[in-house]
Amino acid sequence: MAEVEETLKRIQGQKGVQGIIIVNAEGIPIKTTLDNSSTVQYAGLIHQLVMKARTTVRDIDPQNDLTFLRVRSKKNEIMIAPDKDYFLIVIQNPSD
């Protein structure tokens, strides 16, 4: 547990990291470093995106599964590690 906390702290302290959100399977944020409204917004939208991405991957080959998703945009990059119990979402702006 302490290791997890440490790692989270380190990630938060890395250059350009804007926020970390951990969402459980139902879409309820468990842990977040952003404000509430952004968290809820991110959680909801990303949930749908991940579902779509996962369906896409698995429709093509049912034995395959989604392991990581990165969305690079102009201003930042959203990195999502999905799992069946949770989503780990990190928003980073690497050029900051």
């Binding site: 547990m1 290791e3 997890v4 790692t7 989270l8 380190r10 990630i11 890395q14 250059k15 350009g16 990291v17 951990i22 459980n24 399977a25 139902e26 879409g27 468990i30 842990k31 949930h47 579902m51 996962r54 369906t55 698995r58 429709d59 080959d61 049912p62 034995q63 990581f68 990165r70 102009k74 201003k75 990059e77 990195m79 590690a81 799992d83 069946k84 119990d85 949770y86 780990l88 990190v90 980073q92 690497p94 050029s95």
Partner: protein, 810 residues
């Protein structure tokens, strides 16, 4: 007309005996009810409209009609009795006495079954049944009598009361049907029952008399006459007084609106999405064999499988409760799955804390961290791996481009990039390591991205606890593994045969091996219990691969160490870690000094130990029996594993302790040595004086290493700077001048940050980068830029240089 299908009629014949029984049973009930509705009421559902039943006219008492019982039997081609069981089986134990009333012996089976079927539909409304029964009976009798008129039907109508009773009692009978049938079935299973096939009576279901008559028939005349009469009548009707038209008005009942309210039917929308992976998942959960799991089988059996996936509205969409009802599956597993409702249980909500603590989460965090760092360090890492760096198109362009790829040379930078230089890429450091002195670094033999760094003080004073960190290139901000040791780490080396084994030598003389794969913090083996362990700091450990087993020992890797107590030891695992001495480094006195320092020598004989502290050693790259060792006295001894008493050779040139000695990886008889006397010497193993010496500054040279890529390049680190020497470049001028060389200049010099001493150097194997460790705990990565050495490994060049140098010395 007679029905041609005799078979269905058969069972009814069988029933006849029992029908009589039924008669008897019902007869008792007959007297009870006297419904008055039997006479006229005809139920709308009765399709026998043609029957107009007269009242009680001519009710025949059929009691007299007694025909012998006929039983019908049906046999199929195998001789099996497949007689259809009657729908109603009255109690066979009942006495069959009076046969009167309802059922004649030759009641057709159809009538019976019809009767029964209609009877089952009835309620206990006798009136309903009344006309039915009559019609049924009427039909039966008609067929018998071969008369198709209604009168005959009516004639045969029997005692209404009996009929009524039957209809009523049928509802009771209905209940008893099941059990009676059961009894008979069991009893009669093995019996051979005789069945007789006879033609049944004709059933009149509908009789619509024709409305027109043929001209040729005998009735034509009468019909014509009647028609004419009628036409006359119609004509006369117009002005006739006999016929008066009158209109009437009827009172319509006042309508009343009545409202009825019922509860709304709740509708639930159920949506199903059957995706390929959903079906695959359901199959897997249902425990199908592997054959069915292949996507081909999935697709093939899609049309045959009916699977409903109902989205549970209360849960997130990805948790579906799958209800599979498979009717037929045409696949290898079809036999196993019969119709079974199957529900995939959706798991309970995992505790948020559990989520955070799960292994998978830690793994994901780990990967995420690396990815974030990759984003940050991407240009640097790309430069390290000699990939073209990608400019971020959206990032705000900085004033000074920080990364200049080798291939993209803008005009501005052209001048600056032509001179060889070291470019600092990044450094491995974290708060754990700050303040510790980097004493040694080693690459992992199998994973070129993994670096082990040992932290420990060289001096005997301010000894802190040592630290070993395993860094990965993918994460420069935090080490992958951290091991703390009791005393400072002075040296480490990765094993080649067992890539996760790391040997560590420490300042208190102990040697330990760690397994870097596991997350344990303790060493695998420790030499602290060994009887022959070193008593002074271990200055170097190395895993050596012996190709030829010496003195019958098995081949493989052994750990060799040299320490300040003057011993070079070979360690092996026997019952615990144990070592034997390969060599004891005796103090050798210089011949020259001996003569000069005559008597004084005697005084100086009182040495603390007869052994010279060994500081470094290196095994020959091709011949693993030969090695050279450097001592604190400045002597280099060439030794062999076969002789542990004497040195093969001794090279004396340095005036201070030798910190590093290393064979050239390309030229097998050339080695380099560096010492605290500010010099680096290049030797050839057959010459007792160094071929070349290099001095740059007046500070002790802590580390020197040959470049793994070019034979003429080596790097050295002294207190204040890191230098890259390229013999090929700097000697060019000398070559032509044929002048004994003064001091050569290093090709590249990079200064350390003020206050920080550089202590160790390591070349990267695949790329043109060097790692420099300093006394502040930082390991910096520098990239060699624009070091134009020429093609190939320059072995020939090195040999040329040596040759020419020697030639010039003669």
């Amino acid at each position: 007309m007679s029905t041609t299908r005799a078979k269905p009629k058969k069972p009814t014949l069988k029933v006849t005996p029992s029908s009589r029984v039924m008669n008897v049973s019902t007869s008792g009930v007959l007297r009870v009810n006297h419904s008055s509705t039997y006479a006229r009421s005809i139920n709308a559902s009765v399709s026998r409209k043609s029957f107009s039943l007269a009242a009680d006219s001519k009710i025949l008492d059929k009691s007299s009609v007694q025909t012998p019982k006929h039983t019908v039997q049906v046999f199929d081609e195998n001789g099996k009795d497949v007689t259809p069981q009657p729908l109603y089986q009255p109690d066979p134990a009942a006495v069959m006495s009076k046969h009167s009333k309802i059922f004649a012996s030759d009641t057709s089976g159809g009538t019976m079954s019809d009767f029964y079927s209609t009877a089952y539909q009835t309620t206990t409304n006798a009136s309903f049944a009344g006309p039915f029964t009559r019609s049924v009976f009427g039909s039966s009798t008609v067929s018998r009598g071969s008369q198709s008129t209604m009168e005959s039907m009516n004639e045969e109508i029997e005692d209404p009361s009996s009929k009524r009773d039957i209809s009523i009692s049928l509802s009771d009978v209905q209940v008893r049907r099941e059990e009676v049938k059961e009894l008979i079935k069991e009893e009669m299973l093995d019996d051979v029952v005789d069945r007789y096939l006879i033609e049944s009576e004709t059933l009149w279901l509908l009789h619509m008399p024709a409305v027109s008559v043929s001209v040729d028939s005998e009735e034509a005349e009468s019909v014509k006459e009647r028609n004419n009469l009628y036409m006359e009548l119609c004509k006369n009707r117009m002005g006739n007084d006999k016929y008066v038209e009158r209109s009437m008005q009827t009172f319509n009942g006042a309508p009343k609106t009545k409202e009825v309210q019922s509860e709304a039917i709740t509708m639930v929308d159920a949506a199903t999405t059957a995706t390929t992976w959903d079906m695959y998942d359901s199959f897997r959960s249902a425990g199908l064999g592997e054959a069915a799991l292949s996507p081909d089988t999935d697709k093939a059996s899609v049309p045959e499988i009916v699977s409903n996936h109902r989205l549970d509205p209360t849960r997130a969409p990805e948790r579906t409760m799958s209800v599979i009802s498979t009717t037929s599956i045409a696949s290898a597993s079809s036999s196993r799955i019969e119709i079974e409702p199957f529900v995939v249980p959706s798991e309970d909500e995992p505790d948020p804390e559990l989520v955070l603590q799960s292994e998978k989460f830690q793994q994901d965090l780990f990967v995420m961290e690396r990815i974030i760092l990759e984003n940050i360090y991407q240009p640097k890492l790309a430069a390290y791996r000699q990939l073209p760096t990608l400019e971020d198109p959206d990032s705000v362009p900085k004033v000074v481009p920080t990364v200049v790829s080798r291939r993209e040379e803008s005009s501005l930078d052209e001048e600056s990039t032509l001179t060889p230089a070291l470019e600092r890429l990044w450094s491995f450091s974290c708060e754990l390591t700050s303040g510790h002195n980097v004493s040694s670094m080693a690459w992992n033999k199998r994973n070129p991205d993994l670096l082990a760094v040992g932290y420990g003080q060289f001096d005997f004073k301010d000894q802190k606890s040592g630290l070993i960190c395993c860094w990965s290139l993918k994460n420069p901000t935090w080490p992958e593994r951290v091991f703390t040791c009791e005393s400072g780490v002075t040296t480490l080396d990765f094993s080649a045969s067992n890539a996760s084994q790391l040997a560590v030598g420490m300042h208190d003389g102990s040697i330990a091996t760690y397994n870097v794969e596991s997350r344990e913090k303790t060493p695998v083996i420790d030499s602290s219990d060994c009887a022959h362990k070193h008593t002074s700091p271990v200055w170097q450990v190395r895993w050596i691969d012996h190709e030829r087993g010496a003195s019958g020992e098995d081949k493989g890797e052994t750990l060799i160490s040299v320490s300040a107590d003057g011993r070079i030891s070979k360690w092996f695992l026997r019952k615990g870690l144990d070592c034997i001495d390969l060599m004891k480094l005796k103090r050798t006195r210089n011949e020259k000094d001996k003569k000069q320092v005559g008597d004084k020598e005697k005084k100086s004989e009182a040495l603390i130990s007869r052994q010279a502290p060994g500081l470094c050693f290196d095994f020959h790259p091709t011949d693993s029996n030969i090695y050279i060792a450097g001592t604190e006295e400045g002597h280099i001894h060439k030794c062999s594993c076969s002789y542990n008493e004497q040195f093969l050779e001794t090279y004396i040139a340095h005036k201070g302790p030798l910190y590093r000695i290393t064979w050239s990886p390309f030229c097998s008889d050339v080695f380099l040595s560096c010492s605290s006397d500010w010099t680096i010497q290049l030797w050839r193993q057959d010459l007792f004086t160094p071929v070349l010496g290099f001095t740059s500054t007046q500070s002790a040279v802590y580390d020197v290493m040959w470049s793994p890529k070019w034979a003429t390049v080596f790097g050295a680190v002294n207190e204040g700077r890191v230098e890259i020497w390229d013999l090929g470049a700097s000697i060019q001028h000398f070559h032509h001048a044929l002048v004994p060389l003064p001091s050569l200049d290093p090709t590249i010099v990079s200064l350390a940050s003020p206050g920080v001493k550089l202590t160790s150097l390591l070349f990267a194997t695949e790329t043109d980068c060097i790692l420099v460790g300093d006394s502040d705990g930082q390991v910096s990565i520098y990239q060699l830029k624009n070091l134009t050495v020429g093609e190939g490994t320059q072995v020939a060049a090195l040999e040329d240089i040596i040759g020419s140098t020697l030639a010039s010395q003669l």
